[in-house]
């Protein structure tokens, strides 16, 4: 059975939770969290909500943020450990 991205139904690699595009968006999302936390002192969930509402956010990042929020964490898409 072909593995599909739960957001866009594109094909995804067996070990990855998302397709290549949404995976790249997710990695960017994780990478930028520390910066947001330092700048605004927001929690992971608050950060996701802020990013999802921001008009400058890329389409795939918004979809990933909404996906995690709707699925309460969504499988395989964990919150980064605070540095």
């Amino acid at each position: 059975m072909e593995q599909q991205c739960p957001i866009c139904n594109r094909r995804r690699a067996e070990n990855e939770p998302l397709c290549a595009y949404h995976q790249r968006a997710y990695l960017n999302l994780r990478e930028k969290y520390d910066q947001w936390k330092t700048a605004l002192g927001v929690s992971w969930d608050e950060y996701l909500r802020e990013v999802a509402d921001n008009p400058n956010t890329g389409e795939w990042v918004r979809e990933v943020a909404q996906h995690i929020l709707q699925r309460e964490g969504a499988q395989g898409l964990s919150q980064p450990h605070s540095s």
Partner: protein, 705 residues
Amino acid sequence: MGKVLVICEKPTAAERIAEALDERGKPRAFREMAVPYFVARLGKLEFTVVSALGHLFTLTQSRGSWTYPVFDIQWVPAYTVNKESRTKNFVEAIGKLSSGAEEYISACDYDVEGSLIAYTILRYICGEESLKRARRMKFSTLTKRDLQKAYEEKMPTLDFSMIYAGKARHEADFLFGINLSRALTLSVKHATGYYKTLSIGRVQGPTLNFIKEREEEIRTFVPEPYWVIDAETTIEGKKYPLEYSELRIPTKSQAEDIVEGCRGAEGTVTEINSKSLTQAPPAPFNLGDLQREVYSLFRYSPRVALNAAEQLYLGALISYPRTSSQRIPPSIDIKGILNGLAQEPDYRGMTEKLLSRPSLRPLQGGKDDPAHPAIHPTGNLPEKKLTQVQLRLFDLVVRRFMASLSDSAVLKSVRADVNVNGHLFYIRGRQTEYPGWMEFYGLYLRREEVVLPQMKVGQRIPVSKLEAVEKFTSAPPRFNPSSLLKLMEDAEIGTKATRTEIIDTLFKRGYVAGESIDMTDLGFAIVETIGKYCPAILSIEMTRDLERDMELIQLEQRGADDVVAEAAAALKPILEEFKAKEKLIGVELNAALRESQFKENTLGPCPSCRTGVIRIVRNRSTGKRFAGCSNYANGCRTSYPLPQAGKIEPTKRSCPVCGAPIIKAFIRGRRFMTFCINFDCPSKKNRREERGAAVPHLQQAKSRE
């Protein structure tokens, strides 16, 4: 009397060339099979001046069916391949008119395309022998003076190096285009039975890949917050912005600390620095610079700019626009051009200023073109009314040319440092000390002067506005037709003659859309599939190497046949790999095609049931289209009539009044319209009452029951 056949590229050019060659300046006009031609006399010579209609010959496969790979190709009349082509009469008329010609002259535009147009006509209509008796006129403007000079100094033979470079480019591009496009189209057809023309080419591939990379960057962009201090001071009743010395403050608390630290405090001017900068005039335009400037100032696409520039060239108002040069050679009569322009009252003052200078030396840009100088006015003024685009372009070229002949501008910038409770702010001013070239080109400059009041060190000034403003970083901008053109130029892919057309093709195939170029799902699927199975097609190196080979052919350092053979050899393994994976590729592309078609037909969410989407549907019996809810099977009967003519595009927006989708309708020959598809929308009621009558082609929204 010796008969000379003169071949031009376009009918307007033929008339101008005939006028220039005729000893009385009045050639006789005739028609042969509805093709206009002119007869001019000069001494014992009789010139028959006839034009082509662009390329009269094109490439096609020599034999075999609609499949790939194709490596046997031949030149044939364009009308035998494209039935809509209007070139049949031209081929036959030139055949008749060439009878009895003792000499031939190629007077097509002086570039690879022009040279190739004349070559194919001579070779395939007038016969191989004609090539030995053919000469080449070289000119960069269609003014009488330049054309007469071009005739007097005509080359003793055709410009074969340019012809062979053009021929090799056409043949290599044809091999890539026909094979790859057929491979893509047939992969879908063989896998699913569905036919849709798909294409990719040697330059199209890397260009599409640039767009994809940018699109990925935009769609995966996470904005970062930062803060700026928005502050102002008031001096002598006038407000001036106070710029905080740190442009971006990374955290909210730091920004708030700065505001708290400055609140209620006065500022003290601690230092005032001013410096003068000289700004050299801009170089005259080459085609890319002109297209970018026109887009930036007027938002005309590169295609519109090129067409308008070509019309101005054919009207002998500007020089040949397809040039890479930013240089005006000494052979150009600058004084004569300025004297001509002085006949126009709007330019008189400026031309007088330039003509009163002891010498006229234009600023020369870095780029050169062996075939043509930079785009410049000829000194002729429009004899007939120009369109708005043409008029704007003409004025822009004239002013840019005059600016390039002028002095550098001197600009003064002033910075006052202001200390507010230990925090450093700046007040900045900028003024033009000496306008120089800006006097000529100022109309097209977006420069704001900020004149500061007299200030002195130690002066105390109030802080009249102070707040920390939250901002977010933005993704890089999408390409527009102008920035994409620049990228192609910088990457050295395509030529000045082909880049505009390649961008147009990407739109035509549905790979990209919008003025701010957005990649469609189909575009993504094409790049993904090609990237996966034959990545060489997306590689910039392969296409760039081929461009360099073309240049070497022109410099007579490489043989054209070798270059084409090499291109074919590079293509063979790519096509073999493609063929081996054809089914897989077809299935993937088909999925993307269906998805993109679904998206194109989905206009927006249904305002009634709120779970379905409004889609474009065709009535099976009448064939007419309308918009209906996808939840029809579940009982939602919402539907709207649609205009039957033209193209409809979703806008991804819903009407704020009734919630129905807003669509864009494109009808040929008219400006597109954006409107809510609900005829009964309350927002339209007032407008309808004002007009007093219903719009006949839009019926009331009704149930499908």
